[in-house]
């Protein structure tokens, strides 16, 4: 029942957003609102704020005038799938690294105080600054037949964002068992690994699920931003830039890849939620994210 309510509320939110958009477009000042030379509210012209119906119409029509041109929605969907693949690789790498770091911090108390500040610091490095560095490092990787691809750099950047919430959530989860439960394992003469396997890991599931959800969202944002800033081809980030550049002549087109990116994020959250459902019995004490 609560799930149904969440869906309805979510749908209502989207409708409300659309209504606000059209209402502002109809009623707002044509030149927007400017103060101290800064544009605070956008212009309401069709150029700045196309009608929703125009965006939809644009999404359904071909990308350009070429005879074999695909419809915009198909191009956007394919680009989204490509980005999703990259983000999934990034998330997988990030989750493994994040969980590994959490295990390390769990095992060695010193590691926790030594590593944790660096983890937090790592997240303050702006992504835009990082992207070119990683691309240029990647460019130097040649191992036999293996050639570093641009999308791999993008995946690395995505994993850079994704590992953090996983590491923090996993550490909290692994440390969540009560002293009495840990002592019980001790009384069974279970070593560190077995305690992790039979007690700490299952106990961490309620913490891992929101952590992975957050990590997945971060991986997608990282992927899109990295695609924009590295110019990697094939992904949704590239499409956002490309379509935005045709903005003055075709303003409604630019909103298709943006909508695509949003839907991609929602789909990912849905997939994580589905996976979480299969872990039902570990979730009796789930903690809110």
């Amino acid at each position: 029942m609560t799930r149904l309510r969440a869906v309805i509320l979510g749908a209502l939110g989207i409708v409300l957003l659309g209504v606000l958009w059209e209402a502002y477009k109809a009623l707002g000042p044509a030149a927007g609102f400017e103060a101290f030379g800064i544009q605070l509210l956008p212009r309401t012209s069709d150029l700045a704020m196309p009608h929703l119906i125009d965006m939809l119409d644009r999404a359904l029509s071909p990308v350009n005038t070429a005879a074999d041109s695909q419809p915009v929605w198909l191009t956007v969907t394919l680009a989204c799938l490509s980005s999703l693949g990259t983000a999934a690789v990034g998330l997988a790498v990030g989750a493994v690294v994040g969980f590994g770091l959490a295990l390390l911090m769990l095992r060695f108390r010193i590691a926790e105080s030594a590593v944790l500040p660096w983890l937090i610091l790592s997240q303050t490095v702006p992504l835009i600054a990082l992207a070119p560095v990683i691309v240029s490092w990647g460019g130097r990787v040649h191992i036999g037949e293996f050639e570093w691809q641009r999308w791999m750099s993008v995946a690395v950047i995505a994993s850079y964002l994704a590992f953090f919430p996983v590491a923090v959530g996993a550490l909290r989860g692994l440390q969540s068992p009560l002293a009495a439960q840990v002592e019980l394992m001790h009384s069974f003469a279970a070593g560190w690994w077995r305690t992790v396997l039979h007690l700490r890991l299952p106990a961490s599931v309620p913490y891992l699920i929101p952590a992975v959800r957050l990590g997945a969202a971060s991986a997608i944002i990282g992927t899109v931003v990295a695609e924009v800033s590295t110019g990697a081809k094939g992904g949704i980030g590239r499409l956002i830039i490309e379509y935005a550049q045709s903005g003055s002549s075709d303003p409604a087109k630019a909103f298709s890849p943006i909508a695509g990116a949003v839907l991609m994020g929602l789909a990912t959250a849905g997939v994580v939620a589905l996976v979480a459902l299969t872990l039902g019995r570990f979730r009796s004490n789930e903690v809110p994210a």
Partner: protein, 265 residues
């Protein structure tokens, strides 16, 4: 042969408020198959003593031997089973899987595990609940699961810290009878912490009365009620004589009131 030999054990804790002497020069011997209760006011070191025997903590000084070995070796050899005041079940495991846990950890094969778990579930009378999860059980049923789990490896020593503390009076008396039966059947030595004088007397061969600050053994009382501990025993005069003896030992003089932290149920 002795099951547990505690010699000159002292345990101090360093706290913010200063040094706390939880146990001061404690000596205790528990023979094989013997049922010994620890009773005393809150904070007299009962749990601490049990934890030291279980090697969940180490004494500040003194020696603890379990079946002639160090406490640590006995723990590694799984010579004891332990049940705490709270059942401490893993919520994601079913009743059967919770009981199975120690067997699984020690590499008992699947068939062996299933047989043993079926026996244990029968033993504690939870036959219909093997597949239930802990949250679906009452406190008393959870406690029985914990007891079954402590028996899984057929230990020759059972350590129990107020296992019936959270139970209602009726369940409690039934569990006491079951425990008497189980300990007789398995021949295990039991060290049993309780706050209830009748419970201690009903269950035990010997009752160890402790006093706090610092934690010491004040008196050890032999309860000679014989082996036939039926329900009728609770009505017998020998039973009441022992209850009175324990109560007087707790107060350090003939009883006038009730010692703090000890109920006389």
């Amino acid at each position: 042969m002795t099951a547990v030999q505690v010699t000159g054990v002292t345990k101090t804790f360093t706290t913010k408020a200063g040094l706390v002497t939880a146990l001061d020069d404690v000596d205790l011997t528990v023979e094989k198959g013997e049922f010994v209760s620890l009773i005393g006011p809150s904070g007299c070191g009962k749990s601490t003593l049990l934890r030291l025997i279980a090697d969940l903590d180490t004494p500040t000084s003194g020696v603890i031997e379990v079946f002639g070995k160090s406490a640590r070796q006995a723990r590694l050899d799984q010579d004891y089973g332990i049940a705490f005041q709270t059942a401490g079940l893993l919520p994601w495991r079913s009743v059967a899987a919770n009981i199975e846990l120690p067997l699984q950890l020690h590499g008992v094969d699947r068939v062996g595990r299933r047989q043993r778990v079926a026996q244990l579930i029968e033993l504690v009378g939870l036959g219909d609940f093997a597949r239930s999860f802990p949250e679906q059980l009452s406190g008393g049923m959870q406690q029985r699961v914990a007891i079954a789990r402590s028996l899984a490896e057929r230990p020759e020593l059972l350590l129990m810290d107020e296992p019936f503390g959270a139970l209602d009076e009726m369940t409690r008396e039934r569990m006491q009878s079951e425990l008497v039966r189980i300990s007789a059947e398995t021949g295990a030595a039991v060290i049993f912490v309780t706050h209830s004088i009748p419970e201690a007397v009903f269950l035990s061969d010997r009752v160890v009365v402790m006093s706090p600050r610092p934690g010491r053994i004040r008196k050890v009382i032999d309860v000679k009620l014989g082996d036939a501990r039926g329900e009728g025993l609770r009505e017998e005069s020998a039973f009441f004589a022992s209850v009175t003896e324990v109560r007087e030992a707790l107060h350090g003089a003939p009883a006038t009131g009730t010692a703090r932290g000890v109920d006389t149920r």
